[in-house]
Each structure stands twice: as structure tokens, then as C-alpha cells.
């Protein structure tokens, strides 16, 4: 099992492969109808500070909704990144994002900047040779098609969580990243938070003994709905928003990007809360248990033969219970034979015994005093998820949450969802990546795609 035990990705800024922006290249890439309005001016190098153009990463942003806001702000502030293009199926959103990028660069440079193209179709953005990397923050059902095409066209990828809509998509994405040598970071950014890393370090190093039970709170979405047809707003390409998923009449609640519901409620676009928060918390559990290239072996839905909590079980018997009350309102509670670890966002960490939380895993003196049984496993250190990705693009190193890790976590999300839908438990072989003894459930490992949106 790989443990990703390595020292932090350094600040190495080795020249990254791939073409850089040239005026000629930009013009060649900007000939699409959608990009005409974005005809660029020459960009003064002062916009990008000290970073030489050859070290600069030409960036495209795809899916300009709720989740992209923070990515956009992060990217336009980096002097080694130039956001060259944005893309969204909603004209209003893409034009707003283009304006945001251009205003940010104009403010930094003190001159008017008009160098960000706005695309309706991601294929046009990916066809540009001067775009080296893309951030994908669409709904889940578009993650894999865009990511796979981007990697095949030589782009590095940051893709929001969960990485995929189906288990098979994950296998394809991971294989594609390997085949094409691309740097793919999945946006399960809790891996880049100190408290979660420390929790994983404590568990992984055996400091609370063998972990037998884990509670995690994912919350609940309201049930999906059948919705009446509404007029499609002007400038919104609804058919493309649906993409490879089944057709339904337009309704604003279906496409709404909302942490509390919207498209996230619908099975067609994800695995509901299992995919939403599961992609964070199941991910940390996988990391802490050292299962990044494997996974659980059994999935039991809530309600099955009186099962009170949705449960998945690892081969060593460790059980993960969803929505079981977690002590002190934490997000995850690891219960081992010798102690406990409780962890949440906001750098919240509690341990039993309490001194575990004060251990500094990078301080050799502290490490010399650790209890017997300490395994000496170092976990990958990243303190900021997007920064880690960019550093890895420069250094051509694996980021903290690469495709295989994202695939294995998403597999758990999807299998929990499949068991919930089918209302029966599933046995899973994490080596062969097969559902055992249930051919009809196995059909859910992938979903047929609606034409013409068949890219994989």
C-alpha cells in the first residue's frame, strides 16, 4: 500500500513542460466565436511580477459557479499563473468571470488588461496550446469528461470533489493521468489542513491502537424532486449543462448551485451527501487508515435489516458509521483500542490521551518521546491545496490528492450511494475493483452517457 509518506513538496520552481503563452499562440487559440470579444491587449510583464514568462502556467477555469470563486481569486493572485480563459455554459457567469479576471490583472498592473477569453464550450478552451492547466469546478457529472479530455490534450488538472460520477470514470481518470504524465489534484482540500493531517498521522502511526470504529457526520440533503418545466433562461445552455446525464425539463431548482441542495440533491448528478461531504471525510478516513490505493469491502445501507446507520467495513473489521453522533460535534471520530481522535475543520483536534494532539511530527525531539509502537510514518505535508498543485506542476511531482487517491475515495462515495439506492448491502473487492456476486448492482459502476456528450 502506498502511504504517500514524503516530505513536503518543496518550493522547487523547475521549469514546467508545455508551451507558454505567446501572442501568436494566443491569437490562434482565441479565434473561436466565443472568444472574439476577448481579443487581448499585450499584457505587460509587470502584471505577473517577477515570474519569467517561461515559468508561468497558462490557466483555464471551467465551471464558474459557487466553488470557482475561491479558485479564481487564488489563481489571479499568483505571479506564476496567468488565467487566460474562463468557460461556463451560462453566458452571464462566464462574462462576469472574465471581467473579474481582467479587473484583477488591471488592478495589479495599473493598466487596462483585456486578455481573458470567455468560452461557452470547454472543447475550445482545451484546444488552446497556451493553456497548460485547468481548474474544473462544474457539477460532478462533468468532472470526468472534461478532466480526461484535458489530460489527453496535455493539460494538468485541478478537479473539484468528488472526482467522478461513477466508479469506472475514476479508473479511467487515474489511468489517463498515469499514461499522459499529468498532475491531477482532487479538491478534497481537508488533506491540506493541519488538524486533519495530524489526525491521520496519529491514527496511521498506531498511537490510538487498532482503530475499530469511526463515526463521521455527513448531514442529509432533502430528497430529490420531480419538477415542472420552466422556461430556460436566455444565455443558459441547459442541454450542455445536463451533458451526459438523462434529459429532464428545465427547472431552476435542478441546476441551482447551492451547498444545501440544488443539483447536489439529485442522483443524476452525484451521490448526494455521500459524494458531497463523503468526498471529504471518507477521504480523510482512507488516508488515516493507509488505504489510499484500496478501500472497504462491505457497504450496508441505513435501514437494511434494522441497520441504524449507513456503514462501510474494511477488511480488518474497522467500521465507518455515517451520521452516528460524533462526540463534541466533531466531523470525524476515530476510536481505537488505546484512544480516540476527534477532528473538524477550523483546526479542531482532540485526542485521548490528550498529549497526542500536541505531538509535532516534524520535531525530532518530540518524536523521540513518542509512545512505544509508533510506526514512524510521515504523511505528505501540504498546507494549501491549490498551492500544492501549482508547486507540483512546476516540479512534476505527485500532489497530495492525486487521481488514484481521488478515485478510491469517490469509489466509497459511489458504493454507499448504490447500496442506498438498491436498499441492499454490497460486497466489494478493492483489488479487482468489482462488486462481488451482484451483477445488477455492478451495472451501477458506470452510467451510460447521453449523446452527443460521450467523451470518455
Amino acid at each position: 500500500m502506498s502511504d504517500h509518506s514524503r516530505k513536503p513538496a518543496g518550493a522547487s520552481r523547475a521549469v514546467c513542460g508545455g508551451p507558454r503563452m505567446t501572442r501568436r499562440g494566443f491569437l490562434k487559440g482565441a479565434t473561436g466565436a466565443a472568444a472574439i470579444a476577448a481579443f487581448p491587449t499585450i499584457v505587460p510583464s509587470s502584471v505577473f511580477g517577477a515570474s519569467a514568462p517561461n515559468n508561468r502556467i497558462g490557466m483555464g477555469l471551467i465551471g464558474m459557479g459557487l466553488m470557482m470563486n475561491s479558485h479564481l481569486n487564488k489563481m489571479v493572485r499568483r505571479d506564476d499563473v496567468q488565467v487566460l480563459a474562463v468557460c461556463d455554459v451560462d453566458r452571464g457567469r462566464r462574462e462576469k468571470a472574465k471581467k473579474q479576471v481582467e479587473e484583477a490583472y488591471s488592478k495589479q498592473a495599473g493598466v487596462t488588461y483585456k486578455g481573458c477569453a470567455a468560452y461557452h464550450e470547454f472543447e475550445e478552451l482545451l484546444a488552446r496550446d497556451d493553456i497548460d492547466a485547468v481548474v474544473i469546478a462544474t457539477p460532478d457529472h462533468w468532472h470526468a469528461p472534461i478532466s480526461v479530455m484535458a489530460m489527453r490534450r496535455g493539460k494538468d488538472v485541478y478537479v473539484q470533489k468528488p472526482m467522478t460520477l461513477t466508479i469506472r470514470e475514476g479508473r479511467i481518470m487515474s489511468d489517463t493521468a498515469r499514461q499522459y504524465g499529468r498532475i491531477l489534484q482532487v479538491g478534497s482540500q481537508q488533506r491540506s489542513e493541519r488538524a486533519f493531517r495530524k489526525a491521520a498521522q496519529i491514527v496511521r502511526n498506531g498511537l490510538i491502537g487498532k482503530v475499530h470504529t469511526i463515526y463521521t457526520n455527513l448531514g442529509e440533503f432533502p430528497p430529490p424532486q420531480t419538477l415542472p418545466e420552466e422556461p430556460i433562461p436566455e444565455g443558459f445552455d441547459y442541454d450542455r449543462w445536463l451533458g451526459p446525464t438523462p434529459w429532464y425539463p428545465y427547472n431552476s431548482l435542478r441546476v441551482k448551485g447551492d451547498y444545501g441542495g440544488g443539483w447536489r440533491c439529485f442522483w443524476d448528478y452525484g451521490s448526494r451527501k455521500n459524494g458531497d461531504w463523503g468526498a471529504h471525510h471518507f477521504d480523510i478516513i482512507q488516508w488515516a487508515l493507509g488505504m489510499d490505493d484500496s478501500g472497504p469491502v462491505e457497504f450496508i445501507p441505513k435501514g437494511y435489516q434494522g441497520t441504524e446507520y449507513q456503514t462501510h467495513i474494511y477488511a480488518d473489521g474497522c467500521k465507518v458509521l455515517r451520521n452516528h453522533p460524533v462526540k463534541n460535534g466533531h466531523m470525524i471520530q476515530f476510536i481505537g483500542e488505546k484512544g480516540e481522535v476527534l477532528v473538524s475543520r477550523g483546526d479542531k483536534l482532540e485526542t485521548t490521551p490528550p498529549e497526542l494532539k500536541d505531538m509535532d511530527f516534524h520535531d525530532q525531539e518530540t518524536l523521540s518521546d513518542v509512545p512505544a509502537g509508533y510506526k514512524g510514518i510521515w504523511l505528505y505535508v501540504s498546507n494549501q491545496h491549490e498551492d500544492n498543485w501549482i508547486e507540483c506542476i512546476h516540479a512534476r511531482k505527485q500532489p497530495i490528492c492525486p487521481a488514484e487517491v481521488g478515485h478510491r475515495t469517490a469509489t466509497i462515495c459511489h458504493l454507499c450511494g448504490i447500496a442506498e439506492r438498491l436498499k441492499r448491502p454490497l460486497k466489494w473487492d478493492p483489488v479487482k475493483e468489482e462488486i462481488i456476486g451482484d451483477p445488477e448492482a455492478s451495472r451501477w459502476m458506470d452510467r451510460p452517457r447521453r449523446a452527443p456528450y460521450v467523451y470518455i
Binding site: Q179, E440, P448, P452
Partner: protein, 271 residues
């Protein structure tokens, strides 16, 4: 007494008559699946989904087939309202077997594009070999580019070697060519690989499909054929990404004699 439609009669003859209970359960749900108040349809959808899920449990093959037959008959019945037919076909996507193929095949030609598309997806997932034949037959007749893209993709997903010539015919089309290339990459036999070389560098999917084909051949144990593809791509592909992937692939297959046939190279004449 209720009169059965002709298709249902044929299916009853082939697969045996479904139980009255299954038919009654589905018939009771149909008006609710098409309730004019759209919000009210959800409960009926879940009820039908639960029926389908229960019938698809391991060990329930007889029940699955019985329900599959009832659902197929309703899917094919033009008197059943469209929203109900769509949801019924979507259940067949995940539990339909050979008993559902004739009805789904007929729906591929339905004038309702949504129903036809749902039927295509259901056939893509259907484990019966007759589903492949139905999709192939439909591709031979299809004229609408979107339907063609769907059918090509479905047949590619099913790895249908008999469709290679049909796919190859599409490679010259800007609309269907890229999907045809990807489908050929999934089939990954020598004829499929052979068809892809002339269009390598015409559109990106061709080189990408050859990378997929090489990986598939390697996974099947045919490392020599994979190596031959990688070697040729490393020399001939214009896309730096594809050349890079080919170089990476070459590093993972042992050196050996190129397998000209699987690589799509021309056979040498015997001396």
C-alpha cells in the same frame, strides 16, 4: 378481459407469461408516473425503482425476468404516457435482460427522441448479446448524427468487433468521426487499430484512441502489439501529449518484435 398488444403476445410466447401481481403493480403505478401535477410523480418513481431493485437482487433471476418482461411491454406500449415510459425504460437500464431487448430495439426508432435515447442507453447496459445486435442494426440505419454518436458509443462500450467497419465508415465525418475513433480504441483488435492509422493527426481522438488500444492490448497480455502501436505513435503522432503517452507506454512494455498485424501495419509478402 384485457387484450394484449402483439409485441406483448410475442414476448409472452418467448419468455412465458408474467405473474398477474407484477403486471398489476406496474399498471397501478403508470397513472401516477404521469401525474399532471409533476411533483406527485416522485413517489411513484421511487416505488417502481424499489420494485426493480428488489427484483434485481442476487438469486431473484426469475422475478427479475418477470418484471423485466412487464416493464418491456409497458415501455413498448404507445398508450402508456410518455413520462411513465421514460421512467420504465430507465429501470430497464439497470435490470433488463434479454426479455427486454425486442421492446427496447423497437424504441430505438421511436419518433420521441427522449424515449429512443433512453432505449439506446438501456441497451448499452443490457447483458444480452441480442442487445449488441440490436444496436448494430440501428447504427446501420441511423441518419441523425446525435443518435449515431450514441449508437457508436454504445457499441464501442460493448467492444463490438462486428461494428468495426461501421465505425471506420464514420471516421471521415467531423460530427461522428471522433466518437467512432474512441469506439475503435475500445474494440482494440487489429482491424480497429488498422482503421485508426490513416486518421491519426486528422483529429485528436484518433491518437488518443490508439493510446487506449495499446493499453487495452497490454492489459490483455499482448505486449508486443501494444509496443508496436506505441513505437509508431512516438514517431508519427503530431500531438506532443500523445507522443509523450506513447513514450511512457513504451517504458512499460518489454522490448520485443513489433506485432505488425495488431499494430495495423501491412503484412509482408512471403518471399
Amino acid at each position: 378481459m384485457k387484450v394484449l398488444n402483439p409485441l406483448q403476445k410475442v414476448m409472452d410466447k418467448v419468455f412465458g407469461s408474467p405473474s398477474v401481481a407484477e403486471r398489476q403493480a406496474v399498471e397501478a403505478l403508470i397513472p401516477k408516473l404521469a401525474d399532471p401535477e409533476v411533483k406527485n410523480r416522485y413517489a411513484a418513481q421511487m416505488e417502481l425503482q424499489d420494485l426493480a431493485s428488489d427484483a434485481s437482487k442476487p438469486g431473484n433471476s426469475r422475478k427479475r425476468k418477470t418484471l423485466g418482461k412487464v416493464l418491456a411491454a409497458k415501455a413498448a406500449d404507445a398508450k402508456v404516457p410518455q413520462p411513465a415510459r421514460v421512467w420504465i425504460v430507465r429501470q430497464l437500464e439497470y435490470m433488463g435482460g434479454d426479455e427486454a431487448v425486442p421492446a427496447l430495439a423497437k424504441l430505438l426508432g421511436d419518433k420521441d427522441a427522449e424515449l429512443a435515447e433512453c432505449a439506446r442507453r438501456a441497451l448499452e447496459k443490457n447483458p444480452a448479446s441480442s442487445a449488441t445486435a440490436a444496436l448494430r442494426k440501428a447504427l446501420g440505419k441511423a441518419t441523425d448524427p446525435v443518435m449515431k454518436i450514441g449508437l457508436i458509443n454504445s457499441l464501442g462500450e460493448r467492444g463490438d468487433t462486428k461494428s468495426v467497419a461501421l465505425f471506420a465508415k464514420e471516421l471521415g465525418s467531423p460530427k461522428t468521426g471522433p466518437t467512432a475513433a474512441l469506439a475503435l480504441g475500445k474494440v482494440a483488435n487489429s482491424a480497429a487499430v488498422e482503421a485508426l492509422w490513416p486518421v491519426l493527426n486528422k483529429f485528436p481522438e484518433a491518437g488518443e484512441a490508439l493510446i487506449n488500444a495499446a493499453a487495452a492490448l497490454k492489459a490483455k497480455g499482448n505486449a508486443e502489439a501494444a509496443r508496436a502501436i506505441y513505437e509508431r505513435l512516438a514517431k508519427e503522432a503530431k500531438s506532443p501529449a500523445v507522443r509523450g503517452a506513447a513514450e511512457t507506454g513504451l517504458g512499460k512494455v518489454p522490448a520485443g518484435k513489433p506485432a505488425a498485424k495488431a499494430a495495423g501495419g501491412k503484412k509482408k509478402k512471403k518471399q
